[in-house]
Amino acid sequence: MELERTAVDIHQCEKTFLDGTKALQPTNLRIEPGEVVALLGPSGCGKTTLLRIIAGLEKSDGDGSVWFGSDNVTRLPVERRGIGMVFQHYALFPQMSVASNIGYGLKIRGASEQEIKRTVGELVDLVRLNGLEHRKPKELSGGQRQRVALARAIAVRPKVLLLDEPLTALDAKLKESLRDELADLLRRLNITAIHVTHDQHEAMSIADRLVVMLAGKVVQVGTAEDLYRSPKHPFVASFLGRINTLKVIRDSRGQTGVCIGGIWIPCFASVNKDSEVMLRPEDISLSVVDSLDSPTKIAHRVFLGDRVHLRVHTEDAGDLLVDAARDCPFQTGDSVKVHVAAEALMSFGDY
């Protein structure tokens, strides 16, 4: 199925709800044609509001505008925007069969019986629902419902595909397999897609670019790797993966740095005393220490199969999260020595 590729431009969109809550601060965002973008953030960060403004289900306050390619769609009602949307709980039409659900949009557009049948058949193949065409939504499993919702949304050949927490209603195991399937399908369709989620793994595995949001604001936009390796905001660092926060101190020569387990690590970037730097758990390595009375000890150990999560107690930097490889020999109570490369410290300056 060949679909149109459209750029989406969001210009100064903002939303204040009737009860006075500011759901979305003035926001600008450009999504390239064929790009898959995830709006990522905790609940209440404004990601769903932004998605609904793009869909036309909410109106932006003030002069905010939404553009699909060179068309200003701000004033177009939702039914004329040419979008496809997958809802959180799928919102499949309960009285219709799988085939009627998928064909609904085409029927509304007045397509011929023949064309509807052909397109529905094509989509049933694409999302592997063969043999289930005549079932009712309530007779389907969660994963099957999700695929019907997806097929129904792309049946109308939308300019933009919008996905509102499409995997939230599924259990963990299914979520993981459908996540990869969805990522694969979106690449094959080559469609502009905007995907809302609060799950960073979901966002990282599906989207080309992540838009991290907090309290109605876009905090940072970038690829998963960019955001993980060089976050511009402590929230981005802590939201994408686990993190240690350390207090910056000044040594006798006036240099700034942090002290971990009695070892001085200088900060290269210009940071002030009393500000904080962050450190990923996998950037800390451990080695054996001879003296048994070393104050740096393993406080907690969780074996996760492929990795080991440790909590290391230090006297000067408090408890640190450490990510070690599967064969890590240290047990709870063992004394260890901590190693950190100075480049691994992430500092944020003024954000």
Binding site: L18, A55, L57, P77, V78, E79, R80, I83, G84, M85, F87, Q88, H89, A91, L92, F93, P94, Q95, Y104, G105, I108, R109, K138, R152, A153, V156, L162
Partner: protein, 265 residues
């Protein structure tokens, strides 16, 4: 519940006593309509004479009542369902106030509502003397039952999502309303219709004030027969009421449960 009753003979006895207390008047009323002479009891012999009398004197009230109840259901579906949608989607505070106002005729005595109708429209002779006048009274009384039931259904998060889904797929308002919302709210619409039908068939308060000798309904005829005829005729009338209304109610309930199976979620 079943096991509770089995375990406790006292509970069982209590249940039987309460049930008898409630059922006895109905049974007595029906049987006295079949007895030759009520004061002498069943020893006086049984007859169908009273039933025939009722049918010849009041037979037309049966058709009138059913026709009014059906018209009332149709009117409620047309006005109530659309009104319920408007109220359910309105963001204005006025809509809450309006919904309360709509419920007022249920709280205000029917006599008062009827009096107001007569004061306002009593001069329009053709209207006043037709069944339409009674129908209007029934509509005013039953509308809140339909509107509240259906509006509650339209307000469900699930139905809001269905409506939005249909909009994203390109459906305009009319298409959304008829292809998605009405089927999704059908169980509520049917249960509302059932309630409206039942209320209209048995409505006495308003109808007593609104009727003319030529526009009588079943309950009004019943009151008339109690007041002006032998007690046996009144009882036979009650029996007619049961015979007419019960099968209709069962039928409607059956249709409603069928629809619930098909459209329920």
């Amino acid at each position: 519940m079943k096991s509770n009753i089995r375990q406790s003979p006292i509970l069982l006895l209590l249940t039987i006593l309460v049930s008898l207390f409630i059922i006895c008047p109905a049974l007595l009323s029906i049987t006295s309509g079949l007895e030759e002479n009520y004061s002498k009891g069943w020893k006086s012999g049984f007859t169908l004479r009273w039933l025939r009398d009722v049918w010849s004197n009041y037979g037309n009230t049966v058709t009138a009542s059913i026709a009014i109840a059906l018209c009332c259901v149709i009117g409620n579906v047309l006005l109530g369902v659309t009104g319920a949608y408007a109220l359910a989607r309105s963001k204005s505070k006025l809509s809450i106030w309006f919904e309360e106002l709509l419920t007022l005729p249920v709280a205000v005595p029917g006599l008062a509502t009827a009096l107001a109708l007569i004061l306002a429209y009593g001069q329009v002779r053709e209207f006043r003397q037709s069944f339409a006048f009674v129908l209007v009274g029934h509509m005013i009384f039953t509308l809140p039952f339909m509107v509240r039931t259906v509006a509650a259904s339209f307000r469900r998060q699930e139905l809001i999502a269905l409506e939005e889904a249909s909009a994203t797929l390109g459906a305009g308002f009319i298409q959304r309303f008829f292809s998605i919302l009405v089927p999704a709210a059908l169980p509520a619409i049917l249960s509302g219709s059932l309630m409206v039908f039942t209320l209209s068939i048995g409505e006495f308060n308003l109808t007593w004030m609104l009727h003319t000798p030529l526009t009588r309904t079943l309950p009004v005829g019943l009151a008339d027969s109690y007041a002006s005829m032998r007690i046996e005729i009144g009882s036979a009338y009650t029996m007619v009421f049961f015979i007419v209304v019960l099968p209709l109610l069962w039928l409607m309930q059956f249709v409603a449960s069928l629809a619930d199976k098909k459209y329920g979620t």
